[in-house]
């Protein structure tokens, strides 16, 4: 074939072009269409197709050569133009020039499978097609699948048996977190996946899966999981007691267990945990109605690694033995007893210094080793008084978080020793303690060793607190990141002081495009003494571009995020948004307009004289404001607050 003169070949070629019809007429070609090749190889296309006509013998070597790109060994000078012909895939054709002489093939490779099947003769030197998927090692295949999310994995598993096997390979399911799809997945699928993953599952999160146990499949699930390390069964309220016990017995390596709100948890569950889970480190059984503090005692005594116990609203904490157990082991770093209303002063004192400790003659304090507690939550333990809480002083030197919200009987004297002896305190929550006075803040907190480290402070609803207390706090506590002062008597001075503190501590940036972030969150709604001028002060400091003479202007890097009276909240939010975008001039304009509006409202008085004028001014201000916003004319519903400071 190669020997034929060029001209004659070409002539024959051109003749054939005209004779080919565009419809696939395979009978003429004499080759069955349903061959193993996925692409009908010899059928003609509506585009020019020269491959179909020439007899096979002539044909195949060149067709085989078309399959290989840059293949120097292909038959040089294959005469016919090769258009790989496969139906419907015209777009993938790479049109090749007529090969004359020795130019190697220039097209891209055909899909390897059908190139192999197409070639009939064995004369051509062939490169075997490379089946990437089949030749890949298993680990790489599993690694590819690991990029899919659980829902996608389940979908993909239906492709074929091989994929089914890979998708349910245990290595992909070491973390089973149902948070995204707990509402959508039926119990059988849940059970199937967990059973398939079986002992590979280390981290199981079934929060909210109330469907588990509805189909009585939980038994299967429980027998499958043997290697759990983290288990969260919060909200699986249909879980039965026996199933839960079996699950715990089977998993010796459990370290973090969250059984919040399960009615199935009882004291015997705690006993089983203490016997079978020596690695337990965090234990959360808040709101389990059918167990009490004795269960906690068993777990605390028998789990040597236990660091974190959350037992909100568990009954029976007036039991001195429980307190004694906690004192004796002294391993806990986080103890959450919020809502344990039965907790008494005596129990708390026992927890902290044991029963009848030796009292140092000189200092009048108990001589016991310090507690390792870092975080203590005693919110809403209503029966605690100063006598109990003050015992914490001097004995919790590593304390970082303290929550005493809602222990309404507490006064200043409970907090004084604690604040003086906790240098690492960062979180302090003292909501709803109406007996606290300003001196606890100004004399004790501001002068405490933890003042410079304090990050979160909440004094909401402490109705006696006012500027005199909070001003020193803002002066001294320079690391503050969030302060809740709603429903107190603070006023505008505190807001100004907060702004000054942030201004001093934050670096200024000279880069024009840099955007600030919110460095301090303040909550000041419901404060009668806070007026719009205080809010305005904060807004203006947020957007301030300082321009010291002779040097470049500097921009703020840290601003204050404010939650205030609902009437002004929209303006504040809009202003904050503009500042965060870096648009300081627009923010400044907004602030000035708002100030004009509020002044007009004030001057006119609540009702009566000038009300029409005020309304007109308000309308004008609103229109002006609406015009200057980008996207113009968008009318925001502005509250026409007749008097600012009143709800």
């Amino acid at each position: 074939m190669e020997g034929q003169p060029k001209g004659k070949r070409r002539q024959r070629l051109l003749n054939r072009i005209q004779r080919i019809s565009s419809s696939p007429s395979l009978a003429q070609l004499g080759r069955p269409r349903a061959s193993s090749a996925p692409y009908g190889t010899r059928g003609t296309l509506s585009c020019v197709s020269l491959a179909g006509t020439s007899p096979f013998g002539q044909h195949t070597p060149s067709s085989s050569s078309s399959g290989y790109f840059s293949n120097g060994q292909s038959i040089p000078g294959s005469p016919t133009v090769e258009f790989p012909a496969f139906d419907g895939i015209e777009t993938r054709l790479a049109i090749r020039k007529v090969n004359n002489g020795s130019t190697p093939c220039l097209t891209s490779a055909l899909p390897t499978e059908f190139a192999a099947t197409r070639s009939q003769s064995g004369t051509a030197v062939r490169k075997l097609p490379y089946d990437f998927w089949a030749n890949m090692p298993d680990e790489i295949r599993v690694h590819i699948f690991s990029y899919l999310r659980p829902k996608e994995l389940v979908r993909v598993s239906r492709v074929n048996k091989e994929f089914h096997g890979y998708c349910f390979d245990g290595q992909l399911w070491t973390r089973f977190d149902a948070t995204d799809f707990y509402q959508n997945i039926p119990a059988e699928s849940l059970a199937k996946i967990i059973v398939a993953a079986g002992p590979f599952v280390k981290d199981l999160n079934l929060r909210g899966c109330v469907q588990v146990e509805h189909c009585k499949r939980a038994e299967v699930v429980v027998t499958a999981c043997k290697n759990l390390i983290n288990a969260t069964l919060e909200g699986c309220r249909n879980f039965q007691k026996s199933t839960l016990h079996n699950l715990i017995k089977a998993n010796e390596k459990l370290a973090n267990l969250n059984l919040t709100g399960l009615p199935a948890v009882t004291n015997s569950t705690c006993r089983i945990i203490s016997q079978h889970c020596p690695q337990l480190a965090t234990f959360n059984v808040s709101w389990c109605k059918h167990m009490d503090a004795r269960g906690i005692k068993i777990v605390v005594l028998n789990c040597p690694k236990l660091r974190d116990v959350r037992a909100g609203e568990i009954k029976g904490f007036d039991n001195i033995e429980v307190a004694q157990a906690i004192f004796d082991t002294n391993r806990l770093e986080r103890l959450v007893l919020n809502g344990c209303v039965e907790l008494t002063d005596d129990a708390l004192r026992t927890m902290v210094h044991g029963t009848k400790p030796e009292i140092d003659i000189l200092t009048d304090r108990p001589v016991v080793p310090a507690r390792k507690l870092r975080h203590l939550d005693l919110s809403r333990c209503r029966h605690l008084t100063d006598r109990g809480v003050a015992a914490l002083g001097y004995l919790v030197p590593e304390l970082e978080g303290l929550q005493l919200s809602g222990c309404t009987a507490l006064t200043d004297s409970a907090l004084e020793p604690i604040l003086a002896t906790t240098p690492y305190l960062t979180h302090l929550e003292l909501e709803d303690l109406s007996e606290l006075t300003n001196s606890i803040l100004s004399e004790h907190l501001a002068k405490a060793p933890c003042a410079a480290k304090l990050e979160h402070l909440s004094v909401s609803y402490c109705e006696s607190l006012s500027d005199a207390g909070m001003l020193p706090v803002f002066k001294k506590c320079v690391s503050l990141r969030s302060v809740d002062m709603d429903n107190t008597r603070i006023g505008d001075l505190v807001l100004a002081e907060a702004a000054a503190m942030v201004r001093t501590r934050a670096a200024r940036s000279s880069v024009r495009g840099s955007r600030p972030c919110i460095g301090l969150h303040l909550v000041v709604y419901d404060c009668q003494m806070v007026t719009w001028t205080g809010i305005r002060e904060i807004l203006s400091w947020n957007a301030e571009i300082r321009n010291p003479s002779g040097t470049a202007p500097t921009y703020p890097t840290e601003i204050i995020g404010l939650k205030c009276f609902y009437g002004w909240q929209q303006t504040v939010d809009q202003h904050t948004q503009r500042v965060l975008r870096g648009d300081y001039s627009a923010a400044g304009r907004l602030e000035r307009k708002w100030a004009d509006y509020m002044q007009a409202v004030e001057e006119a008085g609540a009702t009566g004289a000038g009300i029409r004028r005020r309304r007109r001014r308000a309308r004008e201000a609103q229109l002006l404001h609406a015009d200057e916003e980008e996207g113009g004319g968008r009318r925001r519903a502005r509250t026409v607050a007749s008097s600012c400071a009143i709800m």
Binding site: G208, G261, N487, S642
Partner: protein
């Protein structure tokens, strides 16, 4: 209708139903805490989840006439507060569409 699933919120401080601890709202969604309900203190929230509303009725409150709907926890069917449908006074319009949850019937779940 099928199983009723709870919605879970993601936040530092979440308020939940005192009875069944179903998540109701975030601390960040509070608009004001200066309200009083039948059981004492009440908070005004922007958004609550896991509640069912009942039929609207007209009530006279200290701030004027309003149309409100009682809201119940979806899980345990306890009344937890109410929702403002309509306020007749113009100064109270900001409450429309917002929810009041009684502090006594709430607890911290976080």
């Amino acid at each position: 209708m099928g199983l009723a699933y709870n919605t879970y919120l993601n936040s530092n401080k979440i308020y939940g139903c005192k009875n069944c601890k179903a998540h109701l709202s975030n601390h960040d969604d509070i608009i004001s805490r200066n309200f009083r309900g039948q059981h004492g203190k009440a908070y005004l929230f922007n958004m609550v989840v896991n509640v069912e509303t009942e039929d609207p009725i007209e009530r006279s409150m200290t701030t004027g006439r309003h149309i409100v709907r009682d809201i119940k926890c979806k899980q345990c069917k306890e009344t937890v507060g109410w929702k403002y449908d309509k306020a007749y006074e113009s100064s109270e319009k900001y409450k429309e569409g917002k929810f009041i949850l009684e502090a006594e019937l709430l607890c911290n779940v976080s």
